[in-house]
C-alpha cells in the first residue's frame, strides 16, 4: 500500500527535471519557514538567512505523520543546520534529512534555488 510517506523522495540537483517557482523571497520569514504546495506534495521551505542559504524538505514529520515541519524552528546542532518539529521537537538535518536526536527515518530534502527574487524547488517530476 502506498503511504503518504512514499510521495517524498530525496532529490539530488543532478536529477532535477522541474524547477517549480514557489513564491517570492519576501513571502518567507527570515530564519524561518513556510509550506509550499506542489501537485500532491507539501514542501517545507526555509530561508536560513544567517547562512545565506535556502533549504527544502517534506512538510511531513515522520514521527507521527503530521504536516507540520514548515512551522518548526530552525537552527543548528554543532554546526549542522536543522529544523525542530513543532509537535515533539524531533530535529532533522536540513542538509541530509537525517534525524539528529532519535532514530527516525531521514526526511526527504530537495534542492532550492533563488532567481530574480523568486524561490524555486527542484523535483524529478
Amino acid at each position: 500500500m502506498e503511504t503518504i510517506l512514499d510521495k517524498y523522495k530525496a532529490t539530488e540537483v543532478e536529477n532535477v527535471n522541474v524547477w517549480f517557482k514557489a513564491a517570492s523571497v519576501n513571502d518567507f520569514p527570515k530564519d524561518g519557514g513556510a509550506c509550499v504546495k506542489y501537485k500532491e506534495k507539501q514542501i517545507a521551505v526555509f530561508n536560513f538567512e544567517r547562512l545565506g542559504k535556502w533549504y527544502a524538505c517534506q512538510n511531513l514529520c515522520p514521527h507521527k505523520m503530521e504536516m507540520v515541519l514548515s512551522r518548526g524552528m530552525i537552527g543548528d546542532d554543532k554546526g549542522i543546520p536543522k529544523v525542530a518539529c513543532p509537535l515533539h521537537k524531533k530535529t532533522f538535518s536540513l542538509e541530509t534529512g537525517e534525524n539528529l536526536n532519535s532514530d527516525l527515518d531521514a526526511i526527504a530534502v530537495y534542492p532550492v534555488k533563488v532567481e530574480a527574487g523568486y524561490v524555486y524547488i527542484g523535483f524529478e517530476e
Binding site: 520569514p29 536560513f48 512551522r71
Partner: protein, 838 residues
C-alpha cells in the same frame, strides 16, 4: 555462609543493611529482613511531608528492588513473633521458622499512649507511621465536611507534638496543644525560652494549654472533648497523642534478654545484648541507660553493629552522644545543642531576650569563658549550625562570648566562615559526614555541584538540618578551586537565563540576532535559545509574540495551541471565570460555525479545538467583535486566576474573590514569564478555588487575605506556601508584583515558581526578606518594571488581525489558499476528533 536476620525494617534497620552491603565482607553473609509494616523502610523523620505530598514512595529509603539487587531478602508485612535463643531460630506471626547466626533487633519504638479513660475513642490517633497519617487525613476530611470549624488537639508539647500541631493546622483544623508540664519542649528548653516559644506559636495561630493533666476523653463513640479537672474542658473533634515513645522490647523480654526498668534492650558499646549473637540498634537499644529518640545515634549504632559482625571489634559507640536538635517544619526557629540547661556551678549562661520580637538566645560557656558548652535558640536559629560546630569541635570563642548571640548591630561578631572549620568537623551527624569528606569529593572531581556532593557523601539526606551548611561548603570549595558554576542555556550561549536577562535589559536588544551575534558562541541558535530569548525580550520590553514570529515556540508562533494533528485550539480570556450569557452564546455560535470541538479546560475556560491555520484569524475577528481577547493559553505567561464565587453569593464568603480575581488576571495578563503562571482566589478557608494549587493563591480570612506562593499541579504537585497573612488588596498587589518580577528575573528556563522557590538559596525566608523586607533594595525597581508591563499590555490577537503583514503567516500554504488535505476527523460523542495516530 552465615545468616543474619534483621528484625524491623525502619530507618535504623535499613541503615544496617545499607552499611553492611558496602562492606567487602558482606559476600560471606546472607541477610534476611523482616518488617511488620506493609512497605519497605521510609524516612520517618520527614513523615510530616506526607501530609503535603501524600506520596509514600517519595519517602522510601530504598526501593524493594534495591534489597533484591543487594541480595537481601526483604519480607514486609510479617512480624517476628518469637525468638528461640537455644536453637537460634525465630518464628514469625505466620508461623514460619528461620534460623540465624546473628540476630539484629531494630524494632524501634511505638508511641506511648497514657492510660487515660476514653482514649480508645474514634478520632484519637498516634503519629508514627504512614498508616497513622492516612487515618488522620481521612478523619480530618470527614470532620471538615460536617463541621467547618472543627478542632483538633495534640496531647504533648514536645518536639514531635509541635510538629503534629503544625500538621493539624495544615489540615485546616483549629489546632490546640495540651501539655502536662508547665512548659513546652520540656526536654530541650528552659522556662524562659519556652515562654518565648509559646508567644510565638500563639501568634501564628496555635492554641497552647500548659499544666493540663488530662483526666478523660469525652464523647459517645467518637471524641468530642477532653476533661482536665472539674469544670475544665476543651471541646475537640480529634486528638493526636504524642506523649513520648516506648521501645518495642516485647521480643527481647519474652526470650529473656536483659531489659531496662523502663523498657529497652540493654546493650554495651558494641551493640551486643546480653546474648552475644543478638544485637540491638536504634530506638530499641538501651545504651548508657538511655533510649536515644533520634536517627543520628541510631545510624551510628547500625554502623557499629556492622563492624562488630564482620569482625572489627575495636569499633564501638562513643560514650557521649550529641543530642542537639533543631525543630523543623513549624515555621518557627527552635534549636538546642550541647548542654541546654546549666547549673551555675558548671558554667556561666549568657542570655539575650526580646519578647516583642519573639527572640531568645542562650549560650552556656565554661567557667573560664573559653569553651561553648551548649545553648538554646528560639525565634532565630540561623546561627545554629555554626554554634553547633563551635560546640562540637571545641573551637575558640571570642573573649566576650556574648558576641556569639548579640545582633550584629549591637556589637555581635560575625560567626566564622564555614571554611574555617577543622576538616574532621562533623557536618552531617545523621550520616557522619565530615567537612573534609564534603570538600574532598569536590576537590577530587567526584562531585561538581551540591546534588553531586549529596549523592556521593549522603550528607543532608537524614534530618536535613545540615543542608544549608553543606551548600555553603560546596560553594566555598568550588570557588576556592576557581570553578564557576555553569548552567548555560544551550550550546549556543555560555550564559544562563539570568545572565541573558541582564544583558538584554542593559543593552536593550530587540532582535534575536543581536543577542546571538554579540554574546553567542558563533552558531545559529536552536529551539532552546530562540524561544527563551523571545520570552526574555517580551518580559523586558513588554512586546507581544507577534515580534519576530520565527523565533517563537510552536504555540506562540501562531498565538494558539498546536494540537496533535497540527490544528489549533483557541482559548479566549474569561477573567476570573466570570462570563455573561451573551458571551457564552457568542462562543457557542462561533464554535458551531467553524465546527470546533468544545470543552471546558482545567483552568475553567472554554477551549475550541480543531481550527486550521487559515481559520484562526477568521475565528478571532469574530471573537474580538464580541468583546473577547487573547487568553494566552499558548504562552508561558499568566493563564487564569481561578476564583470561587466568594462573598457576593456564597454564604460563607469573607471577601469578594471574583472581583479580586478579575483584577489580578487583568493586571498580569499577557506578561511573558519563564513558565506558565496560574492564580487562584478563594473567598474563605474552605478554599473552593483550590488557590493553594496555584503559583499564587489568595484566601480571604478575618482581616484581609492570606497570600500563598509557589504551588502547582502538573507532574509534581505542590501546595503553595503561606507567604503573608491578613494583608489588604493593595499589599497583595505590591507583593505579587515584586514576587512575579523577581521570579521572571531569576528563574531558570521553563522553571515554575515551585521549583524556583524550592531551589532558591535561603528558601522561603530569604524570599520574604527580598519581597517583604526589601533586603536587596530592589523592590521599587521590581514594582516599576511590573507597572510598565501592565501599562503596555496589548491584546496580541487584536494587534495581529489588524495588521495585514502579520496576517500573512496564518496560511497553511504560502502559494495557495487551500487547506491541508491530509486532515482527517472522526466523530466522537456528537462532536469530532482527529483520526487516532497509528
Amino acid at each position: 555462609m552465615q545468616h543474619i536476620i534483621v528484625v524491623g525494617n525502619g530507618m535504623v534497620g535499613y541503615k544496617f543493611c545499607e552499611k553492611f552491603v558496602e562492606k567487602a565482607e558482606s559476600k560471606d553473609f546472607k541477610i534476611t529482613v523482616f518488617g511488620e509494616e506493609p512497605r519497605p523502610a521510609y524516612d520517618r523523620v520527614h513523615l510530616s511531608e506526607f501530609f503535603e505530598s501524600q506520596n509514600a514512595k517519595a519517602l522510601e529509603m530504598a526501593t524493594a528492588e534495591w534489597y533484591a539487587d543487594n541480595n537481601i531478602d526483604l519480607i514486609t508485612g510479617e512480624r517476628v513473633a518469637d525468638i528461640n535463643r537455644t536453637s537460634k531460630t525465630i518464628t514469625t506471626a505466620r508461623d514460619r521458622d528461620f534460623s540465624y547466626d546473628y540476630l539484629v533487633l531494630a524494632t524501634g519504638s511505638s508511641p506511648f499512649v497514657p492510660p487515660i479513660k476514653g482514649v480508645e475513642k474514634e478520632g484519637v490517633f498516634v503519629y508514627r507511621t504512614i498508616e497513622d497519617l492516612e487515618g488522620m487525613l481521612a478523619y480530618a476530611a470527614k470532620l471538615k465536611a460536617e463541621k467547618p470549624d472543627a478542632r483538633a488537639a495534640v496531647l504533648g508539647g514536645g518536639l514531635l507534638g509541635l510538629e503534629a500541631g503544625k500538621a493539624v493546622m495544615d489540615m485546616g483544623l483549629e489546632p490546640h496543644i495540651v501539655e502536662f508540664a508547665p512548659k513546652l519542649m520540656p526536654r530541650q528548653l528552659d522556662s524562659r525560652s519556652s515562654q518565648v516559644l509559646k508567644l510565638k506559636l500563639e501568634s501564628i495561630g496555635l492554641n497552647i494549654h500548659l499544666s493540663k493533666a488530662t483526666n478523660q476523653v469525652l464523647g459517645d463513640g467518637a471524641i468530642t472533648g477532653m476533661e482536665f479537672g472539674e469544670d475544665d474542658f476543651l471541646d475537640v473533634d480529634m486528638l493526636i497523642v504524642s506523649a513520648g515513645i516506648r521501645p518495642r522490647d516485647e521480643l527481647g523480654r519474652a526470650c529473656g534478654l536483659e531489659v531496662g526498668v523502663r523498657g529497652g534492650i540493654v546493650v554495651d558499646n558494641t551493640m551486643k545484648t546480653s546474648d552475644e549473637n543478638i544485637y540491638a540498634i536504634g530506638e530499641i537499644a538501651l545504651y548508657n541507660q538511655m533510649i536515644y529518640g533520634l536517627v543520628a545515634p541510631g545510624y551510628d549504632m547500625a554502623a557499629v553493629a556492622v563492624e562488630q559482625i564482620i569482625g572489627n571489634t575495636e569499633a564501638v559507640m562513643p560514650a557521649d552522644i550529641d543530642m542537639s536538635t533543631k525543630l523543623k517544619l513549624i515555621g518557627v526557629d527552635v534549636a538546642s545543642f550541647g548542654e541546654p540547661f546549666m547549673p551555675a556551678s558548671k558554667g556561666h549562661s549568657i542570655i539575650f531576650e526580646n519578647k516583642t520580637q519573639h527572640l531568645y538566645k542562650r549560650i552556656n560557656v565554661s567557667l573560664d569563658g573559653k569553651t561553648l558548652l551548649g545553648g538554646i535558640l528560639v525565634g532565630d536559629a540561623s546561627d545554629y549550625s555554626m554554634l553547633h560546630q563551635v560546640y562540637l569541635n571545641a573551637m575558640a570563642i571570642p573573649e566576650d562570648p556574648s558576641q556569639l548571640i548579640l545582633p550584629a548591630s549591637e556589637g555581635g561578631a560575625v560567626l566564622g566562615d564555614v571554611m574555617d572549620l577543622p576538616d574532621e568537623a562533623q557536618i552531617c551527624s545523621c550520616e557522619s559526614v565530615t567537612k573534609g569528606q564534603i570538600c574532598g569529593v569536590i576537590e577530587n572531581g567526584e562531585a561538581t555541584d551540591l546534588a553531586g556532593v549529596v549523592s556521593c557523601t549522603k550528607a543532608g539526606t537524614g534530618c536535613g538540618g545540615c543542608k544549608p551548611m553543606v551548600a555553603d561548603l560546596t560553594n566555598a570549595t568550588l570557588k576556592s578551586l576557581g570553578i564557576e558554576v555553569k548552567d548555560s542555556v544551550c550550546e549556543h550561549f555560555d550564559l544562563n537565563r539570568q545572565d541573558l536577562y541582564k544583558i538584554i535589559q542593559v543593552k536593550g536588544y530587540k532582535k534575536f540576532n543581536e543577542v546571538l551575534d554579540n554574546h553567542g558562541n558563533g552558531g545559529h541558535g536552536c529551539e532552546l535559545c530562540k524561544p527563551l530569548i523571545a520570552s526574555l525580550m517580551a518580559s523586558i520590553h513588554a512586546d507581544t509574540a507577534n515580534e519576530e514570529y520565527a523565533i517563537q515556540d510552536s504555540n506562540d508562533r501562531f498565538l494558539a495551541n498546536i494540537q496533535r494533528n497540527g490544528t489549533y485550539s483557541v482559548v479566549p480570556r474569561v477573567p476570573g471565570g466570570e462570563i455573561t450569557p451573551d458571551k457564552l452564546i457568542a462562543l457557542g455560535e462561533i464554535a458551531k460555525k467553524y465546527d470546533l470541538y468544545t470543552k471546558i479546560t482545567g483552568g475553567v475556560r472554554i477551549d475550541l479545538f480543531g481550527a486550521t491555520l487559515n481559520q484562526l484569524p477568521l475565528i478571532w475577528k469574530e471573537l474580538i467583535s464580541h468583546g473577547f481577547e487573547s487568553g494566552h493559553a499558548y504562552g508561558k505567561s499568566l493563564r487564569t486566576v481561578k476564583t470561587c464565587v466568594g462573598s457576593t453569593w456564597c454564604r460563607y464568603g469573607m471577601d469578594e474573590s471574583v472581583s479580586f480575581g478579575i483584577e489580578l488576571e487583568n493586571r498580569y495578563r499577557g506578561i511573558r514569564a519563564p513558565h506558565k503562571i496560574k492564580g487562584g482566589v478563594s473567598g474563605c478557608i474552605r478554599e473552593c478555588a483550590e488557590a493553594r494549587g496555584k503559583d499564587f493563591g489568595l484566601i480571604a480570612v478575618e482581616g484581609g487575605w492570606n497570600l500563598y506562593v509557589g504551588g502547582n499541579g502538573g507532574a509534581n504537585p505542590r501546595h503553595a506556601e503561606l507567604f503573608a497573612e491578613q494583608i489588604d488588596n493593595e499589599t497583595v498587589i505590591k507583593y505579587l508584583d515584586r514576587y512575579l518580577m523577581f521570579y521572571m528575573r531569576t528563574a531558570k528556563p521553563l522553571q515554575r515558581t515551585a521549583a524556583w522557590q524550592e531551589r532558591l538559596e535561603g528558601g522561603l525566608d530569604y524570599l520574604k526578606e527580598v519581597i517583604i523586607e526589601d533586603k536587596l533594595g530592589i523592590a521599587e525597581d521590581l514594582e516599576k518594571e511590573m507597572q510598565t508591563l501592565v501599562n503596555k499590555f496589548e491584546c496580541e490577537w487584536t494587534q495581529a488581525v489588524n495588521n495585514p503583514e502579520m496576517m500573512k503567516r496564518f496560511n497553511h500554504f504560502i502559494n495557495s489558499e487551500d487547506e491541508d488535505e491530509n486532515l482527517v476527523f472522526v466523530p466522537m460523542r456528537d462532536q469530532k476528533m482527529p483520526e487516532p495516530w497509528v
